[in-house]
């Protein structure tokens, strides 16, 4: 790998004409997020079609989704988004100040994932499984996919936090982390609205 790294140490074109509007890494993450939004849009629209065309909804004999508990979880997740905004402002002003709000983001986000996991365990015990009904299939698929994204994004946040602690958090890495975590936070209320309400 060492060899390839030096090989790519060729001069980029002088930045006179083509200043980067958005850093490349952040740009790449933004494009990826657009694809992800379309992926979730696919699932959610499929779920909506299925729900609308069902004769009876919700499926009889199936447990109801816990609307209130999840609302509380949603609040946790949204709060983690707010702490990340605070971290962003602190990072701009004086980078080490971003440590505390970043840690808060990490903890709030982890609490969301853990509490959603607890909800899954309860629902599974109550008889809602992947194969028990289309509600169950979609619920576990969409929420599970979101949880997967949340875990990956938490990994990024944790990595950003530990880099910052050691004092070398690059602006582009922080930007990538931010874009992905805002995506995880931003898509959840929509999923909550379509799936739970």
């Amino acid at each position: 790998m060492g060899a390839t790294t030096t090989l790519h140490a060729l001069p980029r074109p002088p930045q006179s004409g083509g200043a980067q509007l958005v850093p490349s890494a952040v740009m790449a993450m933004l494009i990826f997020v657009v694809t992800e939004i379309m992926l979730f849009a696919g699932f959610v629209s499929a779920f909506t079609i299925m729900r609308r065309s069902a004769l009876v909804w919700p499926p009889p004999g199936q447990p109801r989704l816990p609307v209130m508990e999840t609302a509380a979880n949603t609040a946790l997740l949204l709060a983690s988004g707010v702490t990340l905004v605070i971290a962003h402002r602190a990072f701009r002003r004086h980078a080490p100040d971003a440590r505390t709000p970043l840690l808060a983001t990490l903890l709030l986000g982890s609490a969301f994932v853990v509490l959603q996991g607890r909800e899954w365990v309860q629902l599974l015990a109550a008889g809602l499984t992947m194969t028990s009904s289309t509600l169950g299939s979609f619920f576990y698929l969409v929420v599970g996919l979101h949880a997967l994204h949340a875990v990956v994004a938490l990994g990024l946040v944790a990595s950003a936090w530990s880099r910052l602690r050691r004092g070398f958090l690059a602006r582009s890495f922080f930007g990538v982390t931010e874009v992905f975590w805002y995506f995880v936070v931003g898509i959840w209320p929509l999923l909550y609205w379509r799936l739970y309400l």
Binding site: A3, T4, T6, L7, H8, A9, L10, P11, R12, P13, P14, Q15, S16, G17, G18, Q20, L21, V22, S24, M27, A28, I31, F32, V34, T35, E36, I37, M38, L39, F40, A41, G42, F43, S45, A46, I49, M50, S53, A54, P59, M130, T131, S133, T134, S137, F138, L141
Partner: protein
């Protein structure tokens, strides 16, 4: 990145260090965009051979049902299903996309933008590796119990979701996994293309100085990114239906099979434009160079390409007119489908207006580009009958549909690729192709192509149904007229396949004996022609600077009829 701070001298040392790379580093695990482009190109070509062989086997079965096919044997109905499914999937996902987008995109984008490599070279390498993995996964599906998937490349449930219907329980899941991996590969490639075009252009290159082919490949990547999500969602749901017994697409248990068709075609139709756009760009480049004229209405051509992208999201249900969708919806989709022919027709007018009054040279790439226009127009016009709900009810699932989409996909994937390959061959390998052999190859291929698919339009109109492994069991399809047309089509198709040996010979011979190309054999303007042929690692010693648009040909008052982008005056 230390790149910004390095001096030119240090860059020179980096060049020198390059020479010590081993074979593996240089050709297999390279991060160089040109090597990755070649990997995509040759993998795509190898897959084209496989896809072509599959079509030879089932076309022989169509013309001579029940007879033993040379190099294959008796074609069983199960083998027929597997062959036809994988022919379609391979030609679209493993030939058209890697060659047109990944190979030409990787090769041309950094060279035409005047930078040394993609923005994310390692992501680029990973993209090819995942693509290769998808190829291997697809191959593995042929060797599991029941054989490769045989439920058509559109993978409609319940045929695809229930093993008792498709009889290929292993193959159908592996097929979906292979397709999903291929999408991941193109996702990475697309992110690279878009970011590179945004952030790595040569100094002085503004938005409207970017060559058409870069525009179209980047737009195609954006289109792919925007449309692939719902299909991945559907594929995940279908894999769960196949493996753990969910009922997303099972109407008995609350699912909806039509839902798959929506998810599939929401991607599937933009996909047509994903592969069309790069071909349109390639043809635009070739036509301007060999007409020695400015590309007619360059900006309009870009807007037209963007309009095609936007409209292509609104046409998907024209594949489902007879699937039981609401007839009012069919009306809407008829209108949007006919609407999308407007920007595509405009693009054709851009080409014809560029040709008008130009000093045209009929080189091999130019012949391919003109062949593209002629054949693609026929493909587009026959699409109108299928895009209109009323006539589609009659034509649906006949050979008319098959002939129509081969008249669009063949110009895109085969003619477009040959056009691009013959045009950039001197740049890629530093030698010229033989023109005589190239012209023989062109004329025989294009004649045999028409001989293959024109008869199939007729059999389709006469009511010949697709996806029937042996039509002798339907007396009304076993008439002498239909059989004659089928046989004619098959013979043409075999000729078309055989003449590809001329192409292979031409390439192999030219690589060794061809005339040295020099930097700019076609006297073209775009930046890739200012690099050495083939370009070294890093492309240029001093990266170019751009002073004007890419199509300044025959400018009055200049002694030469071309005006490269990097020449100050």
């Amino acid at each position: 990145m230390a790149t910004q701070t390095m001096t030119a001298g240090a860059a020179g040392e980096a060049h020198a260090a390059h020479a010590e790379q081993t074979f593996w580093q240089r050709y297999v695990f390279s991060t160089d965009h040109k090597t990755i482009a070649m990997q995509y190109l040759f993998t795509g070509m190898a897959m084209a051979v496989l896809g072509g062989f599959f079509s030879y086997v089932f076309r022989m079965q169509m013309a001579y049902p029940g007879a033993e096919v040379p190099f294959w044997g008796i074609v069983t109905p199960a083998a027929y299903n597997t062959l036809i499914t994988n022919h379609g999937a391979i030609m679209i996902f493993w030939v058209a996309m890697p060659v047109l987008i990944a190979a030409f995109g990787n090769y041309l984008i950094p060279l035409m933008l005047g930078c040394d490599d993609m923005v994310f070279p390692r992501l680029n390498r990973l993209s090819y590796q995942i693509f290769l993995l998808s190829v291997l996964v697809l191959f593995s599906s042929f060797f599991v119990k029941g054989g490769g998937f045989g439920g058509a490349w559109t993978v409609y449930p319940p045929l695809s979701s229930k093993a008792e219907y498709n009889l290929t329980p292993g193959g159908s899941t592996i097929f979906l996994i292979a397709v999903a991996l291929e999408f991941v590969a193109f996702l990475m490639g697309g992110i690279n293309f878009i970011t590179t075009a945004m952030n790595s252009r040569a100094p002085g290159m503004k938005m409207y100085d970017i060559p058409m082919v870069v525009w179209t490949i980047v737009l195609a990547s954006i289109l792919f990114m925007g449309s692939v999500g719902p299909l991945v969602a559907g594929a995940v749901m279908l894999i769960f239906d196949q493996t753990i017994g969910t009922a997303f697409f099972d109407p008995n248990r609350g699912g909806d099979p039509i839902l798959w068709q929506h998810l599939f075609w929401f991607f599937g139709h933009p996909e047509v434009y994903v592969v069309l756009l790069p071909a349109l760009g390639i043809v635009a480049e070739i036509i301007t160079v060999f007409s020695r004229k400015k590309l007619f209405a360059y900006r309009t051509a870009i807007y037209v390409a963007i309009a095609t992208c936007v409209l292509s999201f609104t046409v998907w249900a024209h594949h489902q007119f007879i699937a039981g969708i609401d007839p009012r919806m069919a009306n809407i989709f008829t209108v949007t489908t006919l609407l999308i022919s407007v920007p595509v027709a405009q693009m054709m007018l851009v080409y014809i207006a560029t040709l008008y009054g130009g000093s045209i040279t009929f080189t091999t790439p130019m012949l391919w580009a003109l062949g593209f226009i002629a054949t693609f127009l026929l493909g587009g016009v026959t699409g109108i009958f299928l895009g209109t709900a009323g006539s589609d009810i009659y034509f649906h699932d006949t050979y008319f549909v098959l002939a129509h989409f081969h008249y669009t996909f063949y110009p895109i994937a085969i003619i477009g690729s040959f056009a691009g390959f013959t045009f950039w061959f001197p740049k890629m390998f530093g030698r010229m192709l033989n023109e005589t052999l190239g012209k023989i190859h062109f004329w025989v291929t294009i004649t045999a192509f028409s001989g293959t698919f024109l008869p199939l339009f007729v059999t389709g109109i006469l009511g010949d149904n697709r996806r029937i492994p042996d039509h002798r069991i339907y007396p009304e399809l076993d008439t002498p007229m239909l059989n004659g047309l089928r046989e004619f089509a098959t013979i043409s198709m075999v000729i078309m396949l055989l003449v590809q040996f001329v192409f292979v010979f031409n390439v192999v011979w030219s690589l060794r004996r061809g005339k040295k190309a020099g930097k700019n054999p076609w006297k073209a303007n775009t930046l890739e022609w200012t690099a050495d042929s083939p370009p070294p690692h890093g492309n240029w010693k001093d990266l170019p600077r751009v002073y004007r648009g890419p199509y300044e040909y025959s400018v009055p008052g200049r002694s030469e009829d071309y005006w490269p982008q990097d020449v100050p005056n």
